[in-house]
């Protein structure tokens, strides 16, 4: 499976539903960055955006996380190709 970055950094809120990305930077204040990291959404984490435009749902390591649009705009990701499904 190819999980190499395919684009320049983009805010998580601008990722299309179903697209995957790798977190490459956090731009919020220190407290926000720490909490995001502690919840497993820190730099190098792989994240898949599930849905949403104003409020966003994404998946990180099997956990669903809901973020407001403002919060998602502080998380920069590089798009990666999502993992190919494995047959049964």
């Amino acid at each position: 499976m190819n999980r190499e970055p395919t684009t320049a950094p983009t805010p998580l809120c601008q990722l299309h539903a179903g697209a995957a990305g790798r977190v490459c930077g956090l731009t919020g204040d220190t407290h926000f960055c720490q909490r995001v990291r502690e919840m497993g959404l820190g730099e190098s984490a792989c994240v898949t955006k599930i849905s949403g435009t104003t409020t966003i749902i994404c998946q990180v390591s099997g956990t669903r996380i809901a973020l407001s649009h403002a919060a998602a705009s502080h998380i920069l990701v590089e798009k990666i190709t999502p993992p190919a499904p494995v047959a049964g």
């Binding site: 407290h31 990291r37 502690e38 990180v60 669903r64």
Partner: protein, 707 residues
């Protein structure tokens, strides 16, 4: 088959002291479920983050019958606490709470479906150097997600007992109790290398904490790491400030790294995750890639931009529809029994004050409130279902957009939603909110959400407003929904106002975990309903009974001359005089002195209004229920002969009850949560003031329009 080492070793019975375990983990990983399974207690369980906001203590028994104290702590993602509930966990673990001794051992419970994220907290806890047992909960869900976890390998790598468990199905509890019984729990082989650039700072700050702040070496190292992870040293250090030397060293390192451009906090978290990632790679394997889960499929509708609102509206409509339809038979049953009891006493006792006290005061007052028990149980059943299935977090998600417009975020909606049941747990739930201003705003507006105590008042007024059995049930549901929506809109408006005036601040950035959906735990929901029913009945049997008796006395004495009408008797009684005293204040909103007595008495608890109306309007006690009370209300007149309870007055009274602060218990909780009288007094004044102003506008506006 040979038992693992942690089970076969010496039992804890060898020591005389009762061991104390702290139960910690991420939010919503099953701590309270495990706590209940271990201790047999019935602590509230919910499928949303922040159910436990204060520590709970219980006693478990080892397989050898030895008692073990277990402290259930609020969930947290990190020891670097950011909200009051997380601070409880940190302070207990670091031995900072005067009311709780530092636990001897720690039970770390993790959600096996997301081991890597959950191990972050475990990693910090292992730094504390205390004996730890790791419980891998939800192993069934992990297997269903295609994950295979090598428990033996994890135990070997960490060097501590690791127990696979399904707390909800009581699986793995025997193994856990055997491990908890051990006298000689091993300390973790906790190999974690602090990044080279930061290691000298950790050593120097830890040494200063040992010398200047009298911390034990292991706690000092853990605290040094926390101080570097969270740049708010006051928050990390808790109520005890750091010594000047430690503060100086910390600032010197921080300023040096700032000049060098080193993101030391990020580096520390990343290096921890690197170590955890390496550990997880050795023990977790994804056997099968599974497709979208049931939760994914449900979320596609429930969190949809349009359908999400439709579902939320349908859930609320179904709730109120059920309140009006399903409760009818049990209400008639209670009504029949209350009336029969009253009749029995009336036929057994000679007429007189004592008989009136029992039938009109005690039975009339308490029975008038008890009749609403089925409707309150239905409300709690629905709220229990929402909590148990995981829908609460989705409701918060849907509401986030709206909440952000008033300066809060979706997280504040969970305490507000809980307040539909009762403002007290709602206000307690605000402890999960990180920002103190946002927390205070949520506390200030949460009691505007219509609680279950308002339900009897609304039902009585709706019965008077739309009399007759031929009125479609949807009309009544519609009026009820309107009152709930009005309270919610009021809460949003005042949140918006406070965030722009008294408690200015940027809207917080919301980041919240959405738990997977689970089938409702009907046993837990039923237990919670019974608990709430007991609270309601106990309150009816104590506070409401007491107030009804006092009110009967106040309305029966001093006695009017022989032959006076009941109205004349009430008018010159103590209660009547109090009602007359406030009448000038409430007359502009359409209420007379008799309603005034109800308003005064319901400052103890809102539902007392109904029992007060029963006593004041002297409804037929032989079959006292909503219908005859409604009849008594509808026949009540002003001295000039005008009808007192016109549809406009009933509607205005409901508006008043939506907004007025009339609950002593809530005021007491707000005082405790805000550490003083300033905010509860402010809250009482602004809510009751708003209630009066809006009631005035509605009543006078309605009259001007000819209603």
């Amino acid at each position: 088959m040979a038992l693992p080492a942690h089970i076969t070793a010496t039992a804890a019975g060898a020591t005389s002291r009762q061991p104390v375990y702290a139960l910690v983990g991420n939010p919503n990983c099953g701590k309270s479920t495990l706590f209940n399974a271990l201790t047999g207690l019935k602590q509230k369980i919910g499928n949303y983050p922040g159910v436990t906001v204060e520590k709970k203590v219980g006693t478990a028994y080892s397989q050898h019958g030895q008692p073990i104290t277990v402290i259930d702590l609020p969930g947290t993602y990190s020891l670097a606490a950011r909200s009051p509930d997380e601070a409880v966990t940190r302070d207990v673990l670091l031995g900072r709470r005067a009311d709780t001794a530092q636990p001897d051992r720690i039970l770390c419970i993790v959600d096996a479906t997301n081991l890597e994220r959950n191990l972050y907290l475990v990693h910090q806890i292992l730094d504390l150097g205390r004996p730890v047992i790791l419980v891998l909960n939800m192993m069934d869900l992990a297997a269903r997600s295609g994950l295979e976890i090598n428990v033996d390998q994890l135990e070997k790598l960490l060097g501590i007992p690791v127990i696979a468990c399904e707390a909800i199905h009581q699986r793995g509890l025997i193994e856990l109790k055997l491990a908890m019984s051990r006298a000689d729990l091993p300390l973790a082989r906790h190999a974690w290398t602090v990044p080279a650039a930061i290691a000298p700072a950790v050593s120097e700050i830890a040494a200063a904490l040992v010398e200047g702040d009298r911390k034990s070496p292991l706690v000092a190292r853990a605290e040094a790491l926390l101080l570097l992870t969270d740049q708010d040293s006051v928050r990390v250090a808790g109520s005890t400030p750091l010594s000047p030397r430690t503060t100086e060293i910390l600032r010197a390192w921080q300023s040096r790294w700032t000049q060098e451009g080193t993101d030391w906090a990020g580096t520390l978290v990343s290096s921890r995750y690197d170590a955890i990632g390496a550990l997880a790679a050795e023990v977790v394997q994804l056997r099968t890639e599974v497709g979208p889960s049931t939760s994914d499929k449900i979320d596609a509708i429930v969190t949809h931009a349009l359908w999400g609102w439709v579902v939320l509206g349908a859930v609320m409509t179904l709730l109120f529809f059920s309140i009006f339809t399903l409760a009818e038979s049990p209400m008639n049953w209670i009504d029949g029994h209350v009336a029969a009891l009253s009749d029995t006493i009336k036929s057994a006792m000679p007429p007189g004050d004592l008989r009136d006290l029992i039938t009109d005061g005690a039975i009339g007052g308490v029975g008038g409130v008890l009749i609403f028990l089925p409707q309150i149980l239905i409300l709690f059943f629905f709220i229990g279902l929402l909590e148990s299935t995981g829908y609460m977090a989705r409701a918060a998600f849907i509401m986030d957009r709206l909440m952000s417009r008033v300066g809060l975020n979706g997280k504040s909606f969970i305490p507000m939603l809980s307040s539909y049941a009762c403002a007290i747990p709602g206000i307690m739930a605000t402890r999960t909110i990180e920002d103190p201003k946002d927390r205070l705003v949520t506390i200030l507006v949460a009691p505007l959400m219509s609680c279950s105590a308002r339900l009897p008042v609304y039902l009585l007024m709706i019965a008077a407003l739309v009399p007759g059995e031929r009125v479609p049930v949807f009309t009544k549901v519609g009026i009820m929904l309107f009152m709930y929506a009005l309270g919610t809109a009021g809460a949003f408006f005042f949140a918006w106002l406070f965030k722009r005036t008294l408690l200015k601040g940027e809207p917080p950035l919301m980041i919240m975990e959405l738990p997977p959906y689970r089938l409702p735990g009907f046993k837990d929901v039923a237990l919670h309903m019974l608990e709430r029913a007991w609270i309601f009945v106990r309150r009816a049997g104590t506070v409401i009974l007491g107030i009804s008796i006092i009110l009967w006395f106040l309305s029966a004495y001093p006695k009017a001359p022989e032959g006076s009408t009941p109205t004349a008797q009430l008018a010159q009684s103590f209660a009547g005089r109090a009602g007359h005293a406030i009448e000038p204040l409430i007359k502009p909103i359409g209420f007379d002195w008799q309603i005034g007595i109800g308003l005064i008495s319901s400052f103890a608890a809102r539902e007392v209004f109904v029992s007060t109306m029963g006593v004041v309007f002297n409804a037929e006690s032989a079959d006292e229920n909503t219908a005859p009370l409604r009849t008594a209300l509808l026949s009540a007149k002003w001295p000039d002969g005008r009808t007192l309870f016109t549809p406009l007055v009933c509607f205005t009274l409901m508006i008043f009850y939506v907004f007025a602060m009339q609950c002593m218990s809530t005021i007491a909780v707000v005082k405790r949560e805000t550490n003083g009288w300033k905010w509860p007094i402010f809250q009482t004044l602004y809510m009751t003031g708003t209630a009066w102003i809006l009631s005035f506008m509605v009543y006078q506006g309605g009259r001007a329009l000819g209603f």
